[in-house]
């Protein structure tokens, strides 16, 4: 049993770094375009909704709407960056470019590759979330002191959504299927998880569903941190995100072993 699944697990705690560094080397060549491309959408949402709706709404939960929204956009952009990196870029490395096949001929295991890809997607999520945080801080929508608290939460959000997306990548017969994950899972989650408006606006049943979603836990960590407020039940939120990261990681590794190492 162990022997069957050993190739699907990381061989040691550091092999994945070689995979991460390969992706970093490729990304470095297009870094500027990548950063601008990844920031344009959350920034336009932040300013468009923040100013536009902010005028009508006034304050939310004791702060300006744009300050409320900034944390939601940070969490959402971390989710979207980690997901897209995994379902499009990592999937292409696995399926189209056969980059993973080359790595499987070296002492690295499939588990090392999956861990490297998840870590890389989380790094891109951290970069995207951090950039928005810095803009929000610079414009006075968040506290400078919030950054050390927000960054780990953003990174954990990235790991969680990269792991979840890895399951989708492992199952998808082609990239045409990714649109279902985006439109049926991610977009509803964004509306349910209190990114754009407070969860208290939702009907009771939806609130109970929303409380189980990973993005809700991200928002609950990131928003108080950015607004300089105490974070409630840190342990619960971190544990929930860790479960959403670890379990899908193992599932995706097992699925990928069946897909690639038959």
């Amino acid at each position: 049993m162990w022997q069957r699944f050993a190739p699907a697990l990381p061989a040691n705690p550091w092999n994945w770094i070689a995979v991460w560094r390969r992706n970093f080397l490729v990304w470095r060549k297009v870094a500027l375009a990548s950063i601008l491309g990844n920031l344009a959408e959350p920034m336009s949402s932040l300013f468009g909704l923040g100013f536009g709706l902010g005028m009508i709404i006034g304050g939310v939960e004791g702060t300006s709407y744009i300050s409320f929204l900034a944390a939601g956009m940070v969490a959402t952009s971390a989710m979207v960056s980690a997901t897209f990196e995994t379902i499009y870029a990592a999937y292409a490395r696995m399926q189209t470019n056969c980059t993973w096949d080359a790595v499987l001929c070296t002492p690295l295991t499939l588990g090392d590759i999956v861990l490297g890809e998840v870590a890389w997607a989380a790094s891109k999520a951290l970069l995207a979330g951090m950039a928005i945080t810095i803009v929000a801080v610079a414009l006075g929508y968040a506290e400078w002191s919030s950054i050390p608290y927000a960054l780990p939460a953003i990174a954990l959000t990235g790991v969680t959504f990269a792991s979840l997306a890895m399951v989708v990548s492992a199952l998808a017969p082609s990239h045409d299927y990714f649109i279902f994950y985006q439109s049926l899972i991610l977009t509803p989650m964004m509306y349910l998880s209190g990114t754009i408006f407070p969860m208290s606006q939702l009907p009771g049943a939806f609130q109970r569903i929303a409380a189980l979603l990973p993005l809700t836990h991200s928002v609950d960590l990131i928003r108080p941190a950015m607004l300089g407020r105490p974070v409630d039940s840190v342990g619960l939120h971190v544990a929930a995100l860790c479960i959403y990261a670890a379990f899908p990681f193992l599932v995706s590794a097992a699925l990928l072993r069946r897909r690639l190492m038959r």
Binding site: R4, A18, L25, A102, C105, T106, P107, M261, R262
Partner: protein
């Protein structure tokens, strides 16, 4: 002779009830070039995957460089260099960066990789392309880079899956010459191919496969001598089935393949005389080769 570089014993592998490798056994000795010869679909690439531990056999035992595979495939792979059937280089990276990235997978330090890179570039005749993006290279250059990349960890064993498929004759000869230089340096090569010429030129020994089974094994020239052992005349231009009865009395054996009649003859002159009046025919006389062996053993042409 120390322990075998590769040792397969009664290895079988099926995909969805289709048997791809069927109770296959063979041994590759250190320092030799061993060929797996067979048409597409004979199980060659699956065998390469089994030897690397990327796929697991349903039955049988595999040892590579002394390690049981797939149980300790990771360890075995640290001493293997692989040239896959289809290039999977990083196209966005330069030649040098491809070597750097691959060296890291073998836990080599930046300094170690830097130290071996010039020799690898020279080996691949890519000294002037070190900082070119791989996307800009020709097919032959990419293939040579893939070969250089496979050497980054100074492997004892090279597993080459159809290394010259898709190359022009010039590119193919250059790869063959490079492979011979590796053999001269004492490397062991396991090569899959469906090119007869490649197998005849490079391999010390080969194993002919059909439907995952071994149908012959031995030194190329011994196989040719043992299975054919006479001259071959290929006859084109007529209906081979009509010609067959005409030549039958003068040949050891005759075989129809497509539009060609293959005659295996000890005295070619008799066939020539018999067909002298048939000006519509073209006769090609040549020494026997591995293609004839394959035709003899399977009754089919090698190329699909």
């Amino acid at each position: 002779m120390s322990t075998a570089a590769v040792d397969l014993f009664e290895v079988s592998k099926s995909y969805n009830d289709r048997v791809v490798v069927d109770a296959l056994s063979f041994t590759v000795s250190p320092g030799e070039c061993f060929g797996l010869l067979g048409p597409n679909g004979a199980g060659k690439s699956t065998l390469a995957r089994l030897i690397l531990g990327v796929a697991s056999p349903d039955a049988g035992k595999i040892r590579v460089l002394g390690e049981p595979v797939p149980a300790r495939a990771r360890l075995a792979r640290s001493g293997i260099g692989v040239v896959p059937q289809f290039d999977n280089l990083d196209l966005q990276l330069t030649v040098r960066e491809n070597l750097l990235v691959f060296g890291r997978y073998f836990a080599m330090s930046a300094a170690e990789i830097k130290a071996v890179t010039p020799a690898l570039l020279e080996f691949a005749r890519l000294e002037n392309k070190a900082d070119a993006r791989v996307a800009e290279l020709s097919g032959g250059m990419k293939r040579r880079l893939t070969l250089a990349r496979a050497l980054i960890n100074d492997p004892q064993l090279l597993v080459l899956d159809e290394p010259t498929t898709g190359l022009d004759p010039h590119g193919r000869h250059l790869i063959w010459e490079r492979l011979r230089s590796l053999l001269a340096r004492g490397k062991t090569i396991l090569l899959t191919t469906h090119f007869m010429e490649e197998a005849e030129r490079l391999c010390d020994r080969l194993c002919v496969l059909e439907h995952g089974r071994k149908i012959a094994e031995g030194r190329p020239h011994a196989l040719i001598e043992q299975q054919i052992g006479c001259q071959v005349i290929e006859i084109y231009g007529g209906n081979p089935h009509e010609l067959l009865p005409l030549v039958r009395p003068h040949v050891q054996r005759a075989e129809v393949s497509g539009e060609t009649l293959f005659c295996y003859v000890t005295d070619p002159e008799q066939v020539r005389v018999r067909l002298a009046k048939r000006t519509d025919l073209r006769l090609l006389q040549r020494p026997p080769n591995l293609e004839d062996v394959f035709l003899r053993l399977t009754g089919r042409e090698m190329k699909d």
